[in-house]
C-alpha cells in the first residue's frame, strides 16, 4: 500500500513560486495499476519523482508500505565513464543484490555482448535504453514507476520489455505516467488526470479520457502554441482508434 497525503509541491520561478501539485492524496494497493494522464508540464514527472523519493514535497507525505522502484527505463544514473558492467555492479551493491546473477541477466536481456565491458559513453542511445531497462529489471519491486516508457529500442526489444514488465510482473502495482492515452488504457485499471495541480480520479478509462480530451481542447490550437503541438498531434490522431476498441 502506498499512501499519498496532501502532497504539495511548488517550484521557484522568476516571479514567486508556481504550484505544480496542490494537496494531492490517494492510495495505491498492491497490484493496482494507476495511469495518470496529463499535458506536458502538468507535473506528472514531478509526482513520479516525489513518489520515488528523489525529490521532497513542500508538504504532505508519501508513505511507502511496499518497495517502490526508481522511474523505469531511467538512464540518468549511469556514470558514462564506467562500463555497463560497473553500473550493474553499482546497482547490485546499492540494492544488496547478487551481482553475478544480475550481470548474467543483463547480459542475456540487453544483448550488449562485448559492449558490456566498454564505457557507457561509447553506447548508442538504443544500447543505453536497453541497458537501462535491463538494469531496471534486475531488482524486484512491489510497485513500478513508469514515466513515458514507450520508446525503448527497436520493435523486438519493445516486445521483450512488454513481456518482461506487463506479463511476468502482472501482479505488481504500477504507476504509469504518460500523455499517450492508448498506452495508459492498455496497461492500467485505474485512471487519473493531472491538471492544474489537481488529480481527477476515475475507475474507468472513458470518463478519464473524456476529461483529458476536454482539458486538451481548452489549450490553444497546435499551430499557435508550438509547445503543445507534439503531444496533441498524435493523441488526437489516436482518438478514433481508441473509441472503436473501447
Amino acid at each position: 500500500m502506498i499512501r499519498v497525503r496532501n502532497l504539495t509541491k511548488t517550484y521557484p520561478v522568476r516571479d514567486g513560486r508556481r504550484t505544480i501539485l496542490d494537496s494531492i492524496s490517494f492510495d495505491l494497493a498492491r497490484g493496482q495499476k494507476l495511469g495518470i494522464l496529463g499535458r506536458n508540464g502538468a507535473g506528472k514527472s514531478t509526482l513520479i519523482r516525489i513518489i520515488s523519493g528523489a525529490e521532497r514535497p513542500d508538504s504532505g507525505s508519501v508513505d511507502r508500505g511496499m518497495s517502490v522502484s526508481w522511474p523505469l527505463a531511467f538512464g540518468g544514473a549511469f556514470q558514462t565513464a564506467l562500463t555497463g558492467r560497473d553500473n550493474v555492479r553499482f546497482i547490485s551493491r546499492i540494492y544488496n543484490s547478487d551481482f553475478e546473477r544480475n550481470i548474467a541477466a543483463v547480459d542475456e536481456f540487453a544483448e550488449l555482448g562485448a559492449y558490456l565491458h566498454e564505457p557507457v559513453r561509447t553506447y548508442s542511445s538504443g544500447m543505453r535504453a536497453r541497458l537501462a531497462f535491463a538494469i531496471s529489471m534486475i531488482i524486484e519491486f512491489d510497485c513500478f514507476l513508469i514515466d513515458e516508457i514507450s520508446a525503448v529500442g527497436d520493435a523486438r526489444f519493445a516486445q521483450k520489455c512488454q513481456l518482461e514488465l506487463f506479463e511476468k510482473r502482472r501482479d505488481r502495482a504500477m504507476i504509469i505516467v504518460s500523455h499517450d492515452a492508448a498506452y495508459v488504457r492498455d496497461h492500467c485499471d485505474h485512471f487519473a488526470v493531472l491538471h492544474d495541480g489537481q488529480m481527477h480520479f476515475h475507475d474507468d478509462f472513458e470518463p478519464a479520457y473524456a476529461l483529458f480530451k476536454d482539458l486538451i481542447g481548452w489549450s490553444p490550437p497546435p499551430d499557435t502554441a508550438p509547445e503543445t503541438a507534439p503531444e496533441t498531434g498524435p493523441q488526437t490522431a489516436s482518438i478514433p482508434a481508441i473509441q472503436t476498441t473501447a
Partner: protein, 377 residues
C-alpha cells in the same frame, strides 16, 4: 517509512524531537552535571595576579620573521624574561614553593570541594601529580610587545593566592638575580685574573732591570757608548800630534832631550787608547757592547710587561661595562593582590556553555541518526 518534509521551522523542530534517550544522554545528563558542579560542588577560586618586567639593557633578540620584516618589535622578549617564565612553571619552582609540603597543604584544605582539591581520593599524591595540579593553577602569560609578564595564581582562599603569588615572584627575582650575578662573575673574573698576572709580571721586569744597573754599573749602554768613542778619538788626535812632534824633533835635533819624554807620552797615549776602545767593544767581558745585550733584553721585557698591564686593564674595564649591560633584574609593576572575593569559577557561563554544546552534540547525533534511518532496507 514516513516522509514529511516541511520548510516551516515548527514542523522541522517537531520532526527532530526524537523521544527521550538521546536527549537525556546528550543534553539532560551533561547539563544536570554542570548544574550540580557549577551550582553546588565547585569551590570558589580566588585569583591573585602580579605583573613584572625583567629589565636588562640588552636588546631583545629579534625573530627570523622579525629580521625578515625588518621589524625589531617582533621579538621573543629577552632571554632573561623567558628564563624567568620557564622557571616559574618548573618543578624547581614547585619544590621550592612546596617546602615543608606547604603548597600541597594549601590545596588539600578540608573546605575545598572534592572535585577541585589536590588528590581527593588519596591515590595520586606523588610530586609529579602535584606538578600537574600546579600547572593547572598557575599561569604565566607574556605580553611580548612590552615584555611584561603576568603571573596569575588560583587558590581556594584569598590568603593562599596572595602568598603563593608573592613567593613565586620572589623566586623569580632570585632566579634572575642569580643569573645576572653569575653572568657578571663569569665575565669579570677572567679579566681580573689577567690584570693581576700582568701587574706581577710588570713588577718583576722592573726589578730585574734595576738589579742589572746596580751590578753592571751602567745606566744605559746605548747612551754611554758615544762618549767612550769620543774619548778614544780625542786620544788618537793627541797621539798623532805627539808623533808628528817627535818626527820634526828627530830632523831638527836628533839628540834632543825631549825625545825620550815624547816617547813616553806616545806610549802612554797608546796604552790609554787600547784601554778605552776595549771598554767600548772589546774582548773583555766588561765592555759596553756586552752589557748592552743583557740590558736590551731586560728593558724589552719590562716594556712588554707594561703594555700587557695596560691592555688587561682596558679589557677589565670593557668587561665591567659588558657586565653592567648584561645585568638584569625583576622589576615589579603590579604587586600581587589579595583578592577579596572569588571571581571564578564562572558558574553561569559554565552551565550555559555546557548547555549550548550539549544541545549541539544532541543536534548532530539526532540528525545523524535521522539520516541513517532514512535508509530503509
Amino acid at each position: 517509512m514516513i516522509e514529511t518534509a516541511d520548510t516551516t521551522p515548527a514542523r522541522a523542530r517537531a520532526r527532530f524531537r526524537l523521544p527521550g534517550p538521546l536527549f537525556l544522554l546528550f543534553v539532560a545528563l551533561p547539563t544536570l552535571a554542570a548544574l550540580a558542579y557549577f551550582g553546588v560542588l565547585a569551590s570558589d577560586v580566588y585569583v591573585s595576579e602580579s605583573r613584572f618586567i625583567v629589565r636588562s639593557q640588552d636588546k631583545a633578540t629579534p625573530t627570523a620573521l622579525g629580521l625578515l620584516l625588518n621589524n625589531a618589535t617582533l621579538s621573543h622578549g629577552t632571554p632573561e624574561s623567558s628564563a624567568a617564565q620557564s622557571y616559574l612553571l618548573s618543578r624547581d619552582a614547585l619544590s621550592a614553593l612546596n617546602h615543608g609540603n606547604a603548597y600541597a597543604r594549601a590545596y588539600t584544605r578540608p573546605g575545598i570541594s572534592r572535585f577541585d582539591r589536590f588528590d581527593p581520593l588519596g591515590l595520586a599524591g606523588s610530586f609529579e601529580d602535584l606538578y600537574k595540579y600546579y600547572e593547572g593553577h598557575v599561569r604565566v602569560d607574556s605580553d611580548s610587545t612590552q615584555g611584561i609578564t603576568v603571573l596569575t595564581v588560583r587558590a581556594y582562599t584569598p590568603a593562599d593566592a596572595h602568598v603563593i603569588n608573592e613567593q613565586l615572584l620572589r623566586l623569580a627575582e632570585t632566579t634572575v638575580n642569580h643569573m645576572s650575578e653569575r653572568a657578571r662573575h663569569d665575565l669579570i673574573t677572567t679579566s681580573e685574573r689577567e690584570v693581576f698576572d700582568a701587574k706581577a709580571a710588570a713588577r718583576a721586569a722592573g726589578a730585574a732591570l734595576a738589579r742589572f744597573r746596580n751590578t753592571a754599573g751602567v745606566i744605559d749602554p746605548e747612551k754611554q757608548a758615544p762618549i767612550q768613542y769620543e774619548l778614544v778619538s780625542k786620544l788618537q788626535d793627541e797621539l798623532i800630534e805627539a808623533r808628528s812632534d817627535r818626527r820634526q824633533l828627530m830632523i831638527v835635533a836628533p839628540q834632543s832631550a825631549q825625545i825620550p819624554a815624547l816617547d813616553a807620552r806616545i806610549k802612554e797615549i797608546e796604552t790609554r787608547i787600547n784601554e778605552q776602545s776595549g771598554l767600548a767593544a772589546g774582548n773583555r767581558k766588561k765592555s759596553l757592547a756586552a752589557a748592552g745585550e743583557e740590558y736590551q733584553r731586560l728593558s724589552l721585557e719590562s716594556d712588554f710587561a707594561a703594555k700587557r698591564l695596560a691592555a688587561s686593564l682596558a679589557s677589565l674595564e670593557a668587561a665591567e661595562n659588558e657586565a653592567q649591560r648584561k645585568s638584569s633584574y625583576v622589576e615589579r609593576i603590579v604587586e600581587p593582590n589579595r583578592p577579596d572575593s572569588a571571581i571564578e569559577p564562572h558558574r553561569a557561563r559554565g552551565i550555559l556553555t555546557t548547555l549550548v554544546f550539549s544541545l549541539i552534540v544532541w543536534g548532530v547525533a539526532t540528525m545523524l541518526i535521522a539520516g541513517i534511518r532514512e535508509h530503509g532496507s
